[in-house]
Symmetry: C2
Subunit: 250 residues, 2 copies
């Protein structure tokens, strides 16, 4: 059995943010598996088979990739960003754990990538420059109460916060509830960044205060960064710089 599964992070969108390691894996694959918009980022290669799936079918997609590898195929499962951050890697290991014992013997590797919050932060300056956390705002797979509890504790810890999947057509209301929670617990001038589709032609970046933030500023292609209490804005001509200092005073 010489098949393998690589779960590869394509980064936030631009080919300039795809690591050489991921590019080499893509070039060596017999089969690519993934959500269609992510597969469309990969240049076609003669003889390589593409298995396009819908966004909600992560476990099916994972099982399919493992089945192909068990039959000797060299499979890349493509993820946006980093595969280990709210993406395909966990789904693959869930499938491995629940699957036939021989799947545990497969050559399975995760290749890291630039996750959305890092690309978003880089565009704004260094808002994640001190301790921070990442929270998936989707309640498809967890109760909303868990999200609210984590968000409250993150504010108490004074982490900068990255919110993934803040809002979608199927979940129009959660982000508004998150904003309401933040407004109860943070000062109105708290810095927020709405970073949409960073490094793609659709990129947009909006820097606002918590008081100015509105649910409609986020969609499913947006990552939202919330500064800590220490996060600062440097005004200048054009887009300001946003950064969180490295120091916390005594």
């Amino acid at each position: 059995m010489s098949g393998w599964v690589v779960i590869a992070g394509l980064g936030p969108g631009s080919p300039d943010l795809v690591t050489p390691e991921v590019a080499a894996a893509l070039a060596g694959a017999t089969d690519l598996v993934g959500y269609a918009p992510y597969l469309s980022r990969v240049a076609p290669q003669p003889g390589q088979i593409r298995h396009e799936t819908d966004n909600r079918e992560e476990l099916d997609r994972a099982r399919h990739a493992l089945t192909l590898a068990a039959s000797g195929k060299r499979v890349v499962v493509v993820s946006s960003g980093d595969p280990g951050v709210f993406a395909m890697a966990s789904a693959v290991f869930e499938a491995v754990e629940a699957g036939p014992p021989d799947w545990r013997g497969l050559d399975i590797r995760v290749l890291p990538g630039v996750t959305a919050m890092l690309a978003a932060a880089a565009r704004a300056g260094a808002p994640l420059g001190h301790d921070f956390c990442a929270i998936n705002l989707s309640d498809n797979l967890k109760p909303w109460a868990v999200i609210e509890n984590r968000l409250s504790l993150a504010v108490r810890a004074d982490f900068a916060i990255a919110l993934y999947n803040p809002r979608s057509k199927a979940r129009p209301d959660g982000f508004g509830r998150a904003l309401a929670l933040l407004r109860e617990r943070c000062e109105p001038g708290r810095v927020m960044i709405f970073a949409r589709a960073v490094s793609t032609p659709d990129e947009s970046l909006r820097i606002v205060t918590l008081a100015e933030a509105m649910p409609g500023m986020a969609d499913m292609r947006t990552v939202v960064l919330i500064g800590s209490a220490a996060t600062r804005i440097i005004p200048r001509a054009g887009m300001p710089f946003v950064y969180t200092p490295r120091s916390v005073p005594e």
Copy 2:
């Protein structure tokens, strides 16, 4: 004035994890500024000037880079990992804010990279597959009480946790105190990963329980990952897979 400053993330070590965007910036620079071990990762280029500094001199290094750019140089400040995560980007913006007003008009860009926790997580499986946080364990620039408070709240929130800079010769004791705090608050079987120098020839990975963890397992080249309560181990021949499921049950 045609100078610029790029703060570039070289990733965790391997050239295969340097993005094409960063490689292009390095190729176009007149001057490179950075900590000597990071500069040594960049292939020399004729005519390019290297300004090597010690690890503790981030602000001096930042000011030097900005001064060079203000005089028309094309400067890359090199960081390991991602420059926005406990690295050089915040230092540069601190220097900009405190510096002469014309520095705000400079062309300053941050180029993201693969930060250590993502490379470490990828090697182990998907331990950061659900909500997580990143905490810098160094108390050089913040009181230890802030670190303990954040760690406690992170455990209460049931985040997976990445600890950067867990231990160094100058700070031999903090990580042991962090372990003691974790032992008070988490079950003994909590999964921990000690990932050292991932993607370099010195790479090592150790997967243990909290009960087995010892301070000496970490040094200044180690990132420590602590699973959430839900993090699972998949036993297999050789190194097990570690992952955190995407779901939180009701």
